[in-house]
Amino acid sequence: MKEIIYNHLRLQRTRFERASTEFGLHPTVSYILAFLLFAGMSYMLLSRSTIEKWEYITTAILVFYLLASTDRLRFYKQIYSAKTFTRIRLIENAIVLAPFVPFLIYFGAYHQLIALISIAGLMSILNGTKLGSFTLSTPFYRFPFEFTAGFRLSWIVILGLYILAFIAITVDNSLLGIFALLVLALSSIMYYQYSEPEYYIWIHNMDSRSFLIHKIKIALGYTTLVCLPLLVVIIFMWPSLTLWVILGMVCALLFLSTCIVAKYSMYPNIFNLPIALALSLGFVAPPILLILFPYLFKRAAKTLKSTLS
């Protein structure tokens, strides 16, 4: 069994390194960057209030959740024995948990540490079958598929962000409320990471420009729908911040639109390093998006032209 588990983990490392190389980064650089980003995020969140400490462990829970996807677990159950399956799940969650532990101990966040260890253990024993056996209703059924599928994948995150916003209102922490709102708006980007098979683009009877506009319209409409209740409450609670909140939302929506056109500009490949860097710059300095969006839109329209003409 030891060898099976070792081979499994080695295969996961190989997959990560291949993805990193395809992305344009040498795996060693990826490891160093990941460590630096993680350490930076840990310091930023753990040196602040209790709420940020809970936010910190939410990132680990999100990874546990992604690792417990139904398809993934079903596949593992097919190829591994029950005993090996359980061990692999425990080891995977322990690997995710490991980097969080020293930071949580160093900053004395013992409650969060106990909660995180318990959740890691609990999620290791989820077998995935029950999670996928029911159809979750969604308000986004009229214009499938990104939001329809995305909502079903991340409803727990959306719920968590709404709870976070509720906490923000109760403790009168406007920044935390705005943070929840912006993360909610930006979480839509995750739904657009998947490169659909060509058939799902080809079937549209519109030219490439109209197709992109159609996709962006749906994304903006549904993102606004998800965020609207929170947006209204935040403006109502902290009216002096109205302008900043709306400006933040506009930037988030512009960033989302840019990510959509960036995806199709590379279709059927995933983002490469220059595009990822340009998007990162746009995220930090939103005015850059005003140049980046039209550029990527043109490029995406050109890329999709042969499929849609």
Partner: protein
């Protein structure tokens, strides 16, 4: 009608379709047979515009793709999308307003379950149901009968006959000769990138012998089964 002129397609140095000239008339069902890897799906992709190619594919409705219903061999189902949402997605893509999905669910599919959890045959029936709601003029069916239960096969045959009576252009690829012979007006044999034979209904009984060409016995002998 679909008119194909000098269609050529290569993958690297591998010539898959070699200057094909063929016509698929309106109100007729054309069959396409050939060994695995003969280029049937590639030809379908070229007609649909899913593959770049040399030569010309012309039809009386332009662009062809916007009037074409294409049923792939293994329709891909996106994750966490129900059967009903799949139909909605395809209809939205073509700007078609669809009503009474349940009434049109003639294969009795569980439309509120995720399409990815459907069996192979159910996925095919779902994709076919969606295509039929779009009122296309041309149809490409890649292996419509494989993996589908007997009852549904009978329904699919009836659908094809109805489409033919409506004057649609239908091209079917299949390895099930008997079924193909029941619905087709002409069957074309694709071999090594060329249409080597076109057989009309009166000669369908010779079809299997033409395809086998005595090679099957020789192949079985090689196995030395004891």
């Amino acid at each position: 009608m679909i008119q194909i002129t000098q269609l050529e397609k290569s993958f690297g140095n591998n010539l898959v379709l070699d200057h094909i000239n063929i016509q698929f008339p309106s109100g007729e069902v054309s069959g396409l047979v050939g060994r695995n890897g003969a280029g049937k799906t590639t030809l379908f992709h070229c007609i649909a515009g899913l593959e770049d190619h040399a030569g010309k594919v012309a039809a009386e409705h332009s662009p062809l793709k916007d009037h074409l219903g294409y049923l792939p061999t293994n329709p891909y189902m996106l994750s966490r999308i129900t059967g009903r949402e799949y139909i909605q997605l395809i209809a939205n893509a073509r700007g078609v307003q669809i009503n009474s999905i349940d009434q049109k669910n003639i294969f009795d599919l569980p439309l509120d379950r995720y399409g990815e959890h459907y069996s192979t045959g159910m996925k095919k029936k779902l994709a076919l149901t969606a295509i039929l709601m779009l009122e296309n003029q041309f149809y490409l069916f890649d292996e419509p009968f494989s993996g589908v239960d007997l009852d549904s096969n009978i329904i699919i045959k009836a659908i094809i006959k109805r489409l033919k009576s409506l004057g649609k252009t239908i091209l079917i690829s299949s390895h099930i000769y008997n079924t193909l012979a029941e619905v087709c007006d002409t069957i074309h044999v694709l071999d090594k990138g060329n249409i080597t034979k076109s057989i009309t209904a009166e000669d369908f009984d010779q079809l299997e012998s033409i395809l086998e060409d005595g090679t099957v016995d020789r192949l079985i002998e090689k196995l030395e089964i004891k």
